[in-house]
């Protein structure tokens, strides 16, 4: 597979390390009332779609960017690659 890195252009997927569903960006609030429940869902439950999947890849043999890759799990076609940090900021994550 080839991942089109937003900064570096097309790179072989073997330069990257895979983590999983991009929902792992959404770490819950540890102070929430139901934090245990929220963290359980966050850590263990997956949509695991057959189709479009937003997922985290890390450019370990490269610039060490975490990327959010939108890839179809049925065809492996990649339709979008974003910097994970940008995604996280956009989703309101901060400090």
């Amino acid at each position: 597979m080839i991942i089109n890195h937003p900064l570096l252009g097309p790179r072989d997927a073997s330069e990257f390390v895979y983590l999983g569903d991009a929902s792992l960006i959404n770490r819950p609030d540890p102070d929430a009332q139901n934090a245990a429940e929220l963290f359980h869902t966050y850590s263990y439950e997956r949509a695991n779609p057959a189709g479009e999947h937003r997922e985290l890849w890390y450019h370990e043999q490269g610039d060490r960017s975490w990327l959010v890759v939108t890839r179809n799990t049925l065809t492996h076609a990649i339709t979008e690659v974003e910097m994970a940090r940008d995604v996280a900021l956009k989703q309101g994550r901060d400090r």
Binding site: I2, D12, V17, P30, A36, F39, H40, Y58, I78, R95
Partner: protein
């Protein structure tokens, strides 16, 4: 033996003779021959035995689809089983032996299985060999296994070298027949970067095997000129002997180039190169494969595909027989006849299954339109064929053509499904092609010459335009389409003798019928039950006819019946080539510590720690074994001072205004208030609450930290921290870089450590100025930048000093020099391990990814005042159980006993079984300090069981030892030494 079947013509170099042997028999051939063509030239028709019934078999094809003519090539460690004679280039000195027979090829004792064939029908083995039960493994299976397989491995290490390479292009053209060449010319002339690859050693594909004309000259000449033109273009790479074996995601192709397989000796050059080709677009021009017709005894040596007969006659100048009969369902059979006639080979009969007029006249040949071959004769080679009316026709070769199947394989590697075309009675590529691939020529069902050339040209033009190149305006070349009328015909139903489909695995029409009767009607069931198409040729010639017969039996159409899935590789690829140079000591890169050379020169024995090689111990003269060395290193370190290279610990440089806050998220314990110039131990959890890693982090400045991780987790911790930085807390001002390789780091430990280190560094290291857990940026020997940490893994007064890695080797020498007056010893990982167990520190065996902070006795390090990764989930009920395991120390009640790591604890009096399992011993060592074996381990409620004696049971190794539960801190539990 003379080359009795050699005839005129062909693309062979008759000026040179090549000698080779087959089953020890000397034979001759010429450059340009394959082993198969040379065998035929020498009159060798019987070349092997089939898998199941050991039927005599001959050469069936002239290409990589060959099911029969597999030989064991070369000898000794170079021995190469199951090698297709049809694709092996002949070289001087080649040796080949036939496979799968006991006794000589001509008198195979195992041929008796043929007599038993009524009882060995499809799937017979699933229905018997079950009684008595013990017989399967003792008797039945060994017999079955003995008859399994075809060729043999030498059992010696593969002596050849294999390389890997990466190529990039605009257009990859797979197959260099007429379509591929015309596509390559079109694309190449436009300026696009083109790679054209072909599995054959002569470029041209069927042009070399046919008598067709292009541009008023022989097709083979045109192919040669085209190759010359392509080779002259800088933007084109022509790769003969290269099989594109797989189409992978996003335009990545696997290709195998055979570099020295055609030579007697590779002379140290790589035997093969495995290429990974990155192509923006590709054109599959892989041609088509001829398929046979099933009829009685259609497997005898001498029965051959009609196209292969033409290949041998036209390309190799070999007559596969003296008197040839032809059985066809299409015009191709007639082409074979005219080519044979042109070379003066006798044709005894042309049997055409079609009920129509003969398409052409062939002098002297008997023509039977609407004819059928029902049987053949000749035990080890064809002598005659029998027609439906019982008449026998003399023939030592029968050329069979059942039409052509496009080579759609690569179009299906990404799960695309081919579609059926009735007009050519064949599957062609479907719409769902791999990324960037289009298909042209015969592979796309365009089976005739002129149409194929035009298809190649048009498709290439379309592609180069799409890529932004301007297609050249070279005029179309002149060629004729050959007649290609066909009427589907698969199987002579009137045959009463076994009609073979899969020649290698011996699957017959009857087997297909039986599979259907037993309910194995899905094509995948059919394949798996009968083993159809599972041999080394993957059914390239057999599958479609078998499918047609299955469709017929089940009353469905062929497309309704469907195909099995084509999967990579297109043709088999040696494991050695897939592995390349990553084998033996080159399996993975080696990381040397900065003091590696010093250690080598000073008697170190090394140990693999991940990819690192670390000094394990330093043997001295007179020491009888590793224990002597390790005990000495520990004793002398504890008595005076020892030095150890600890560079392999992960080092992460963390900077930024929010660095401290960031560490607070990462570590369980607090780091906000760590003063500058201080080091703190830190514990990390995974988000699921399990202990992950530990180490120390030093605050070198207000906004500057240096973290150490364990050696094993260096990469993983860094990765997770980058995740936390970029994805979880992107608003923090923090930056990190791994400096593991940037700094060489040495532990200097022992009562004399301070004296030694004071001689080296340029700062005050007195206990007041530089107390336990202090750190500083300083210099060594007035010049060398250095970082000094007062931390201790050994439990002694200890420092770790880091210098830029390029000074590491010199630093090791300098430290030893400075330590000479104290009898300083270098120590390795074993002594390091002994001292950490004596001190009760957890390491990899304890931080095994299954233990929690509480289990490790580190619960106190999880701050109640702040969140950190893993904190919430670490508080789940079952992770907080009262009876959870705890890390404690163990010592044998009888001090002379040795403890075993991996032993399980059983409460005294309980039976030794897993129901009574209390925990396990994780690390053990002989403690030279205490004079007996000690261990660390996990046992339920361990912290409440101090002094209790339990059984450490290890039935797998070492037996039972009674052990007493103790504190894990065997040595200096108060820590006075490290603080002193």
């Amino acid at each position: 033996m003379t080359q009795s079947n050699r005839i005129k013509g062909g693309l062979i170099d008759r000026s040179q003779q090549l000698g080779f042997t087959f089953n020890g028999k000397p034979m001759q051939g010429h450059p340009g021959d394959t082993l198969a063509s040379a065998l035929l030239a020498n009159g060798q028709r019987l070349v092997g035995r089939s898998f199941k019934y050991h039927r005599p078999r001959g050469i069936f094809t002239a290409g990589s689809e060959e099911p029969n003519a597999l030989v064991q090539l070369r000898t000794g460690a170079h021995q190469e089983p199951n090698t297709r004679a049809t694709t092996s280039e002949l070289f001087d000195g080649l040796t080949a032996i036939s496979q799968n027979h006991r006794g000589p090829l001509e008198f195979d004792l195992m041929a008796v299985t043929g007599l038993l064939s009524p009882f060995l029908s499809a799937g017979f083995y699933y229905k018997t060999f079950m009684w008595p039960k013990a017989f399967w493994e003792k008797i039945y299976e060994p017999v079955i296994r003995m008859s399994a397989g075809l060729g043999s491995l030498s059992k010696l290490d593969d002596p050849d070298i294999y390389d890997k390479g990466f190529l990039h292009c605009d257009i990859l053209i797979i197959g260099a027949g007429p379509t591929g060449l015309e596509a390559a010319l079109t694309a190449g002339r436009s300026g696009a970067r083109v790679i054209i690859a072909d599995e054959d050693f002569v470029i041209g594909g069927r042009l070399n095997a046919e008598t067709c004309e292009i541009a008023d000259g022989p097709g083979a000449d045109w192919a040669r000129h085209a190759t010359t033109e392509l080779a002259s273009m800088d933007n084109v790479r022509v790769m003969p002997r290269t099989t594109v074996y797989g189409a992978y995601d996003h335009g990545v192709y696997g290709a195998l180039e055979r570099c020295t397989d055609h030579l007697g000796d590779s002379s140290g050059k790589p035997r093969q190169v495995l290429w990974r080709i990155y192509a923006k677009r590709s054109i599959l021009c892989a041609g088509a494969t001829e398929r046979p017709i099933a009829f009685g005894n259609n497997d005898r040596p001498g029965v051959m595909l009609a196209g292969a007969v033409r290949t041998y006659v036209n390309r190799f100048g070999v007559a596969p027989g003296r008197t040839v009969a032809i059985f066809t369902n299409n015009d191709d059979g007639w082409r074979t006849a005219s080519d044979l006639a042109a070379k003066g080979v006798d044709i005894s009969a042309i049997i055409d299954s079609r009920n129509q007029d003969a398409p052409t006249q062939i002098a002297d040949a008997r023509v039977v339109m609407g004819g059928r071959v029902v049987d053949t004769s000749g035990r080890k080679g064809l002598t005659s064929v029998t027609l439906a009316n019982g008449e026998k026709v003399t023939a030592d070769c029968l050329a069979v053509s059942g039409g052509w199947s496009p080579n759609v394989h690569l179009t299906c590697h990404q799960r695309g499904r081919p579609i059926w075309r009735d007009d050519i009675a064949a599957f062609v590529p479907g719409a769902d092609l791999p990324d960037g691939m289009i298909v042209a020529g015969a592979a796309n069902g365009t089976l005739t010459l002129a149409a194929g050339l035009a298809d190649g040209r048009d498709k290439a033009t379309e592609l180069v335009k799409g890529l932004g190149f301007t297609a050249s305006k070279t005029p179309a070349i002149v060629a004729q389409d050959e007649p290609a009328d066909l009427s589907a015909f698969w199987h002579v139903a009137a045959s009463r003798k076994p009609a073979w489909l899969d020649l290698q695995n011996d699957v017959t029409v009857k087997d297909i019928k039986q599979a259907h009767a037993e309910g194995f009607r899905s094509v995948e069931h059919l394949k798996r039950y009968t083993t159809l198409g599972m041999a080394t040729d993957q059914g390239k010639t057999a599958n479609i006819p078998a499918l047609a017969i299955m469709a017929d039996i089940s009353g469905k159409t062929i497309p309704e019946t469907g195909t099995t899935i084509f999967r990579p590789p297109y043709t088999p690829v040696p494991i050695g080539a897939l592995a390349g140079r990553a084998r033996g000591s080159g399996f993975r890169p080696v990381r040397h510590t900065p003091s590696h050379k010093w250690a080598e020169a000073n008697g170190a024995t090394f140990v693999e720690t991940g990819n690192w090689l670390r000094a394990q111990w330093y043997a001295r003269d007179g020491e009888k074994g590793w224990r002597d060395s390790v005990d000495r290193e520990v004793t002398m370190t504890r008595a005076s001072v020892g030095i150890c290279d600890v560079t392999t610990l992960g080092k992460i440089d963390i900077q930024g205004r929010d660095a401290a806050e960031f560490l607070n998220h990462i570590y369980t314990n607090a780091f906000l208030k760590l003063p500058v110039g201080k080091v703190r131990y830190g514990l990390m959890l995974r988000e699921d609450g399990v202990a992950y890693d530990d180490g120390t982090t030093a605050r070198l400045g207000e906004n500057h930290f240096v973290m150490t991780t364990t050696t094993a987790n260096a990469v993983l911790v860094f990765r997770r921290m980058e995740f936390a930085r970029q994805c979880l807390w992107p608003g923090l001002d923090v930056h990190m870089i791994s400096v593991t390789d940037g700094w060489a780091q040495f532990a200097v430990a022992g009562p004399n450590a301070r004296k030694l280190i004071q001689k080296v560094v340029d700062c005050d290291v007195s206990n007041d100025a530089f107390p336990f857990m202090a750190c500083a940026q300083t210099t060594a020997f007035n010049t060398t930048p250095a970082r000094l940490f007062r931390i201790s893994f050994s439990g002694e007064l200890a420092y770790e000093i880091a210098v830029p890695a390029r000074y590491g080797n010199a630093m090791m020498g300098a430290l030893m020099q400075a330590g000479k007056e104290f009898d300083a010893v270098p120590y390795g990982t074993e002594a390091l391990g002994v001292m950490r167990i004596e001190k009760g520190h957890a390491a990899g065996n304890e931080l095994n990814g299954q233990t929690t902070a509480t289990n490790l006795g580190l619960g106190g390090f999880v701050s109640a005042k702040k969140d950190c990764i893993g904190k919430v989930l670490s508080q789940r009920p079952e992770m907080m159980r009262d009876d959870a395991i705890r890390l404690v120390g163990f010592k044998p009640v009888d001090h002379s006993k040795q403890l075993i790591a991996g032993a399980h604890f059983i409460t005294r009096g309980d039976a030794a079984n897993m129901a009574n399992d209390q925990g396990w011993m994780s690390s053990v060592t002989y403690s030279p300090t205490l004079g007996h074996s000690i261990g660390l381990g996990f046992i339920k409620r361990g912290h409440e069981r101090m002094g209790e004696v339990v059984t450490a049971t290890s039935p797998a190794r070492g037996g039972d030892v009674q052990v007493e539960i103790t504190s894990p801190h065997f040595y200096d539990p108060e820590g006075g030494r490290q603080r002193g």
